[in-house]
């Protein structure tokens, strides 16, 4: 085989490399050298730890978190927020009973630890509502509902806004909460807590 033939083989081989492979090669080598230097000096062991049994005790039931968040919400927001949230829960439960919307958990049997029927109902109605956040409020809101007369809840909300925002008509209650969600970044509020 002549030298000319060998050159042809090199230039026309069957293998390909990724685009810009040779252009970036020197940078990659430099990266590796820096990386090795850092590893040699510091290693790459994870320096963080967690409280004892953190992972063992970590619950897959997402309702484990809500209480503390709710307490914070109540502390920093106006009372009517809790009232509005409470009302939407009442409405949601009412809707659930009326419409019998398909519950995805029912398809999976009754061993659901998430207890999220209310979320799914709301989600089907108006996806932009922060449904899980409403779920957060649920246990405390239920307590609030138990302890508070329904008329008083409506009164609280209206009084706080100095105008009649809602009445016992479920449609206006629902709309009120939708408007609240539109005007306020509820997700952001929770994330900031």
């Amino acid at each position: 085989m002549t030298v000319e033939n060998l050159n042809n083989i090199n230039n026309n081989n069957a293998f390909k490399v990724p685009e810009n492979y040779f252009d970036n090669f020197s940078q990659e080598i430099e990266t590796r050298i820096f990386e090795e230097n850092i590893k040699k000096q510091f290693g790459n062991k994870n320096p963080f730890k967690v409280p004892e049994n953190y992972f063992k005790d970590f619950k897959s039931d997402i309702s484990a978190k809500p209480k503390s968040n709710f307490a914070k919400i109540i502390r920093i927001t106006k009372p009517w927020l809790s009232a509005a949230a409470g009302i939407i829960i009442i409405f949601t439960l009412w809707q659930f009973l009326l419409t019998g919307i398909e519950n995805k958990n029912n398809q999976t049997g009754n061993n659901d630890s998430l207890k999220s029927k209310n979320n799914i109902v709301i989600a089907n109605y108006q996806p932009e509502i922060n449904t899980v956040d409403i779920k957060y409020l649920e246990p405390e809101i239920n307590a609030y509902i138990d302890e508070t007369d329904a008329d008083q809840i409506y009164e609280d909300v209206n009084e706080d806004n100095n105008e009649t925002k809602i009445n016992s008509d479920d449609e206006t209650v629902y709309q009120y909460f939708i408007d609240y969600a539109d005007d306020n970044d509820y997700t952001e509020l929770l994330a900031e807590l």
């Binding site: 967690v50 409280p51 899980v132 900031e192």
Partner: protein
């Protein structure tokens, strides 16, 4: 159950609309990996716990919309990364801190953090990492500590491998320069 078998089982549950089973399996299988990914971004355990919870809430909320063409692992890490970034940005905004101040405070916090187990060298390294811009910091942690391949990282961070390699290059270069002082 190994990772591949677990992914298959989760996909099967989702296909059969057994969302609760899928979710519980996801939590059990990925909580630790997601936690450590998040922890390296937000540094403080309590913040990592919050972000992990938020991540799983998002997972639960969108599980029925999960596109089975993607890997569960990639999808979860993408959510976790976004949640961690959102969390940090909200904290910065809330505290009206100027650029870099938040990271500076985190850096100071590390020394007294009861859940930081590193020696002095690891403390120096973490302080160097905290000096990086956010994106470089995430890429550095994923590559350096978790050894995630660029291809996988590209799907998680929705960034080209070329850009990721460049980010990592800048990150190691800056860190090497920083730690040379010690």
């Amino acid at each position: 159950m190994n990772a591949a078998a677990s992914e298959n089982k989760i996909s099967e549950h989702i296909s059969n609309k057994n969302f609760s089973e899928a979710f519980n399996l996801i939590v059990n299988q990925y909580k630790e990996r997601l936690y450590w990914h998040i922890r390296k971004i937000v540094i403080i355990h309590e913040d990592a716990d919050d972000v992990l919870q938020n991540t799983f809430i998002k997972v639960w909320r969108y599980l029925e919309n999960f596109n089975q063409n993607s890997k569960i692992y990639t999808w979860l890490f993408r959510i976790a990364t976004n949640e961690a970034i959102t969390f940090i940005n909200n904290k910065k905004k809330k505290e009206e801190e100027s650029l870099g101040t938040y990271e500076h405070r985190l850096s100071d916090t590390l020394e007294s953090d009861e859940y930081f187990d590193g020696d002095n060298a690891q403390l120096i390294l973490q302080k160097a990492i905290l000096k990086l811009p956010e994106k470089q910091r995430i890429v550095f942690n994923m590559k350096y500590f978790d050894e995630i391949k660029y291809g996988e990282m590209s799907k998680i961070l929705e960034t080209s491998t070329g850009a990721l390699k460049a980010s990592y290059h800048h990150a190691v270069k800056k860190i090497e320069k920083f730690v040379k002082q010690y």
